[in-house]
């Protein structure tokens, strides 16, 4: 929330956060099963948003923005557009 405080006002934007599997425990109360609207600084990168939500580094395994993978190296540079969907999974697999 620190980042959020510093950037209150014009410099924040809203994106949609989706958390899955064990990360659902970190969702604030709300109606949707997986999705919450969150406010982030305009210039936040993906890793800032991950930190803001309180997800430990090793738990943000699959990270998608609008369905596109954001791999480790891009998470410190990729920024958001208002309304983007940021979806995060811990390490999971199946088959």
């Amino acid at each position: 929330m620190r980042i959020h405080q510093e950037h209150l006002g014009k410099t924040t934007m809203k994106i949609n956060l989706e958390l899955y599997a064990s990360l659902m425990e970190l969702l604030p109360p709300g109606k949707s099963r997986h999705r919450r609207e969150i406010e982030i600084p305009d210039n936040a990168v993906v890793n800032d948003a991950i930190k803001q939500v309180g997800i430990p580094d090793d738990q943000a395994h699959i990270v998608l923005v609008n369905g596109h993978f954001v791999c480790g190296s891009e998470r410190d540079s990729k920024k958001f557009q208002p309304g983007d969907v940021l979806a995060i999974w811990p390490p999971v697999a199946g088959g």
Partner: protein, 616 residues
């Protein structure tokens, strides 16, 4: 070597059961289970034989690690010529049958011929005999299992059997063991029923020995178990959510096919997901998921045990379905759900119970219903065919009714039992069949995951995710992340997955260990258990040998490079929406390179040089 070095040959035509020594020279080349039994099959049957005729054989086989203390070491496989595809079929199952077979002192059972009357095979250690099964014929898997336990007064008897769907000729019937573990795909149960063989009941008390180097084995197994426990996927993800955690992942990345693969992306995915299975229902406050479960010796325990809401329309006044039973796995939930457009978790769970109760493959069944739904929408199939049922996409009532008809081999269920390819041909729309070599697709759209397209097209048993699961790399980042939208590098990736999988399937271990293990964890366990030196290189070469042997069988059966393709829909109808919008599968960019890397000619034939290199 952890072999009993003894196999059982059962001649169903004359009723004889004869022990014979295991061919150890072949075991050294093909390891066990899938590889070794395929070698026996290839040597013993005419590849052009009728899969449902007496000349086909059916082999139940363990691997060298089956029944040992290796984690997940309880697997067995059924190898035969499959009726759905006409290709070599190998279906793998967990539960407790494989280790029981080994404990009774048998590495493998070969069934040949055809019994004049229904029979079951009873094994108690060295005793092996065929017994009459007239009373069991016409019974479901669950009834058969209960009756055999009662008859033998032995709660520890392990049973594999076929249900009524197989007896009725459903071409994708499986063999179910322990009531809800399945050698599920490619119609291996149909072959078993065609031989008038209803069940195999085994009690083994001998223990599994013959470990080549027990001390080394103990160490290798313990080290490997620690890797499984510490890995986030095998230690936490799979036990908690099972394979069903993939529903939202695959939908999220734009690779979840829906409505007979006409669409990509399913709006109801989250209602039928692994997460939804954990949610308390409004009616009784209980979740769909009761508990997880493990196969013999497994330290992962990915299995799902579920209940259906007693008030759900599908089970009202049917108390026999109110108890907990084998629940939804991801592939089943996709085929029964997204592919038919149904997002009713209870309906899917009930349909899945029926698949277990009467032994048929939920993937092929769901995909065949989906094709029928598309033909219903287009008017080729009408309520006259379906017995008055409105076979509409999204109808849970239609889905559950169809599941009952296939289970009992009645009415339109007989048509659905043909599988998607034959059904679409029968009703004049062959292009609507979403199959490769006659087998239905599982739950990953190859327009969204390019490597899977190549894997499906070249799979030796038709469309299948378990012949080379590149989803692990392309989506899940295991062992390394690759981009699912590119074709570059996929030929090599597919080959690597196919060869490694062939080896794991021949070992007695479960493929799911490979979410944590690499060949560096697997080879030392095989090496310590078996005679000789089983290095990583030797393991991978054996995997490649097995793959090529299967390919050669298929060629002799009349399946050629021309069959290494995908339905037109997936090659030419682009995804309309979502993150993969505009994509088709670009198989032509991958296939020639794949042939080259495999050492095959441009028609996809194994060259003499490759044959020599692999000792085929």
């Amino acid at each position: 070597m952890s072999w009993t070095k003894k196999i059982l040959r059962v001649n169903l035509s004359d009723g004889s059961c004869t022990p014979e020594p295991l061919n150890m020279a072949w075991a050294n080349e093909y390891l066990g289970q899938r590889g070794l039994a395929s070698k026996y099959l290839v040597e013993e049957i005419d590849p052009t034989c009728d899969p449902l005729g007496p000349d086909n054989k059916l082999i139940m086989a363990t691997g060298p690690l089956t029944g040992t203390m290796a984690s997940t070491g309880g697997r067995y496989a059924v190898i035969t010529k499959g009726p759905l595809t006409g290709a070599i079929a190998c279906s793998n199952s967990g539960g407790f049958l494989g280790n029981e077979m080994k404990n009774a002192g048998w590495d493998m059972i070969i069934f040949e011929g055809k019994s004049p009357e229904p029979v079951y095979l009873y094994i108690e250690d060295d005793l092996a005999e065929l017994r009459p099964a007239a009373d069991l014929w016409g019974k479901s898997v669950w009834e058969t299992d209960d009756l055999l336990h009662q008859m033998h007064q032995d709660p520890l008897l392990r049973i594999a059997c076929v249900g009524r769907s197989a007896e009725a000729g459903c071409l994708y019937a499986g063999i179910i063991n322990d009531k809800h573990r399945a050698a599920g795909r490619s119609g291996v149960g149909t072959v078993m029923a065609s031989k008038n063989l209803k069940a195999v009941a085994i009690r083994g008390t001998k223990g599994v020995g013959n470990i080549d180097n027990p001390e080394k084995f103990f160490q290798a197994v313990n080290d490997a178990k620690a890797v499984l426990a510490e890995n986030a996927v095998t230690g936490q993800g799979l036990p908690t959510y099972g394979t069903q955690v993939l529903m939202n992942v695959i939908n999220g990345v734009g690779a979840l096919p829906a409505r007979n693969m006409r669409e990509v992306g399913f709006e109801g995915a989250e209602n039928i997901s692994g997460e939804a299975m954990h949610e308390p229902r409004p009616s009784d406050g209980k979740p769909n998921l009761t508990t997880n479960a493990a196969c013999f010796g497994c330290t992962i325990a990915c299995g799902r045990i579920s209940t259906v809401d007693k008030n759900h329309f599908s089970v009202q006044n049917k108390p026999e379905y109110w108890g907990a039973s084998g629940g939804l796995e991801y592939e089943a939930a996709w085929a029964l759900g997204a592919d038919t457009g149904v997002d009713d978790l209870d309906a899917l769970t009930y349909a899945n119970f029926l698949c277990n109760e009467d032994g048929y493959d939920p993937i092929s069944f769901g995909a065949t219903v989906a094709a029928a739904m598309e033909m219903f929408e287009n008017g080729q199939i009408t309520t006259e065919h379906t017995g008055g049922i409105e076979l509409k996409f999204g109808s849970a009532e239609a889905l559950t009714k169809m599941a009952e008809l296939v289970a009992h081999g009645e009415g339109f269920g007989l048509d659905l039992g043909l599988g998607s390819k034959r059904l679409c041909e029968k009703y004049g729309r062959p292009e609507l069949s979403m199959t490769v070599k006659g087998q239905e697709f599982p739950a990953y759209d190859p327009r969204g995951i390019q490597g899977m397209g190549l894997g499906y097209a070249t799979s030796n048993r038709g469309a299948c995710h378990l012949r080379g699961y590149t989803v692990a790399s392309e989506v899940l980042g295991i062992p390394v992340k690759t981009d699912p939208t590119v074709t570059e590098g996929k030929a090599e990736l597919v080959k690597a997955f196919q060869d490694a999988t062939a080896l794991v399937d021949s070992s007695g271990l479960c493929l799911f260990t490979t979410f944590a293990w690499t060949m560096d964890n697997i080879a030392p366990q095989i090496d310590a258990a078996c005679e000789g030196d089983w290095s990583v290189e030797r393991c991978l070469e054996a995997g490649e040998r097995i793959w090529n042997m299967e390919r050669e069988f298929n060629k002799a059966a009349g399946i050629t490079g021309k069959d290494d393709t995908l339905p037109k829909r997936l090659l030419s109808e682009a995804v309309k929406q979502g993150p993969t919008a505009g994509q088709v599968n670009r198989l032509d960019e991958m296939l020639p390179e794949y042939y080259q890397i495999r050492g095959w000619n441009e028609d996809g034939e194994v060259t003499e040089e490759t044959r020599q290199r692999l000792g085929l």
